[in-house]
Symmetry: C2
């Protein structure tokens, strides 16, 4: 195992902020090129959807992945924009599906501009992202990208199927988060490598890094759903349980609980999950069974595996990019929103 | 001008029905290849959405366009499926936007499976269509395709902007239907040509054919909205007026009407358009101003121009395909649903 020195949080923050500015410039240029002679409302909706203060982590992953594989040009930023477009397209459609009023501390697109505008703007971003991928990552890049986007949809269906399913296994949980989250992060890193002309071994290593990182990200997201401070995360605590989403802390608890406690959990999950007190009972049961610690350990293991996969690049000509990829993996564990 | 002999309706019908079966086989094969190890509900929703008895005219246009440019292989059917996928994706999303209960005489996807499944299935089809285009029509095909799909979204926004706009001009109307409908039909024909390795002149001629055909199709669609038999079209008569969509018959009427009649039309358009009798009054005013005939003549002119554009292919090695393209143009004028 090679030792990678991940960037420390403050160096990562400074670096990521500067890169986000470059990525946003590329996005604005791309939009200006794509939106000529268009309806002004479309441009307004797209601008609102895209420039609401995201951290631009997905495009950053594409940039860093291409850098550690030796790419040095600026074209990667044009490609990188595609990953933010797709990400925002899914958020905009998710907010329609969930009737969400807010997103990132502002009104959701669906609420501000109506459902029609939100669905259409999501479709526009979806189409534009594929356009950029096809143009800057070729047919092989498009294959990887489209497999991940169709996989995301499949993950959502799989999740719908398991609503309030107390029998959901850890394996099924990972199948859901693999498709819903990890596949696209893996594709982002792999396409960055492809763009740099990297060989199959490097592509595979970055895909592994992305897959582990994406899975860890989702495990932490699911933990924050229980443990996060709503004023920091911007999301209502316990939302997953109320919606019947069975995530890792609950799965661990269902596996570890005594028969009587397990029976009680089943009842709570199938009953009125929004009833006063239901969430608090579940929360305490998860604590009793160490479900939160256990999920956290899983995320830590995934992050360690992600960093391991970077070992292949120990001799890269872009050590700063490599250390930022390491830092991003650790950031997943540290984030509180 | 070269004389093209368009296929007669009965020959076209027989031909189109056989081709639809081949196209559907290609779609089913593609789905089977794409949907391995997937959630069974996703497969069910996609099957429901895709196999509800469409006429498969878009994929047929791609096949015929490639044939008149000299392509002979079967790969075109794999590419052609993409156009049906995209078409169905837009229908599925439209039905969410319009809260439509029915589509093609059955429950809409949104009603049968819920909004989440409908948005997600549309996204899946969208992604898969781009995948196929990138694979079988290359980067140039993807450029043409994505410009048409982002253009479609733009057309929808333009249409939203002109709701109940009595000042909408014929030019603005054509800008809307060009983007909403004609661009994608043009792209379908152009990409068929591209796939066949046709030169720029042939590509441009088929793009023109598709653009004129698509515009004529939409003009007739807008006429049928007023004049169609609801039991045949499956759509409520007068829906466009009730929704405030200002289409060609109304634009012609607003241009031709006496001041008093024009004032009355403005009031009706801005008032309660669903009020009893409102539609009947508008209908009579359009008849008085020959708005229906005038719109019909516009569609006939567009179809004649579409057929003219086929003149370039008079010496094609695939005369049957050429005559079917001519027949499809005439079919646009003859259809009653």
């Amino acid at each position: 195992m090679t030792i990678i020195k991940p960037a420390d949080p403050s160096a990562l923050r400074t670096f990521a902020r500067r890169q986000a500015a470059v990525i946003e410039t590329a996005m604005r240029r791309d939009l200006a090129g794509a939106l000529t002679d268009n309806d002004p409302l479309l441009a307004e909706v797209l601008n609102y959807a895209l420039f609401g203060g995201g951290k631009r982590i997905r495009p950053l992953l594409a940039v860093l992945s291409s850098r550690v594989c030796g790419a040095t040009g600026e074209e990667i930023y044009r490609l990188a924009a595609a990953f933010e477009y797709l990400h925002v397209a899914t958020l905009v459609h998710d907010d329609v599906i969930d009737h969400a009023r807010d997103r990132r501390g502002r009104e959701s697109v669906a609420r501000k501009y109506g459902m029609a505008a939100a669905i259409l703007a999501g479709d526009w971003l979806h189409a534009r992202s594929m356009h950029l991928i096809g143009r800057f990552a070729g047919s092989r890049g498009l294959d990887v990208f489209c497999s991940s986007t169709t996989g995301m949809v499949d993950g959502e269906f799989l999740q719908l199927r398991h609503v309030a399913d107390a029998g959901m296994t850890e394996e099924q949980y990972f199948a859901v988060i693999h498709r819903k989250t990890a596949l696209l992060i893996a594709a982002t890193c792999e396409i960055g490598a492809l763009h740099a002309g990297a060989g199959p071994e490097q592509q595979a290593a970055l895909a592994t890094y992305g897959r582990k990182l994406g899975a860890a990200f989702q495990v932490i997201d699911d933990l924050l759903d229980y443990l996060g401070d709503a004023s920091t995360t911007g999301k209502k605590t316990g939302n997953d349980f109320i919606e019947g989403k069975v995530t890792l802390p609950l799965i661990h608890t269902l596996a570890a609980a005594e028969p009587a406690a397990k029976k009680r959990l089943h009842e709570l999950l199938r009953g009125d999950r929004a009833a006063p007190g239901a969430l608090a009972v579940v929360h305490r049961m998860i604590e009793d069974c160490h479900g939160f610690e256990s999920a956290r350990q899983t995320a830590e293991r995934l992050v360690a595996e992600a960093i391991d996969a970077l070992g292949l690049f120990a001799e890269t000509a872009a050590p700063e990019s490599l250390s930022m990829l390491g830092g991003l993996a650790l950031y997943v564990l540290a984030r509180d929103r």
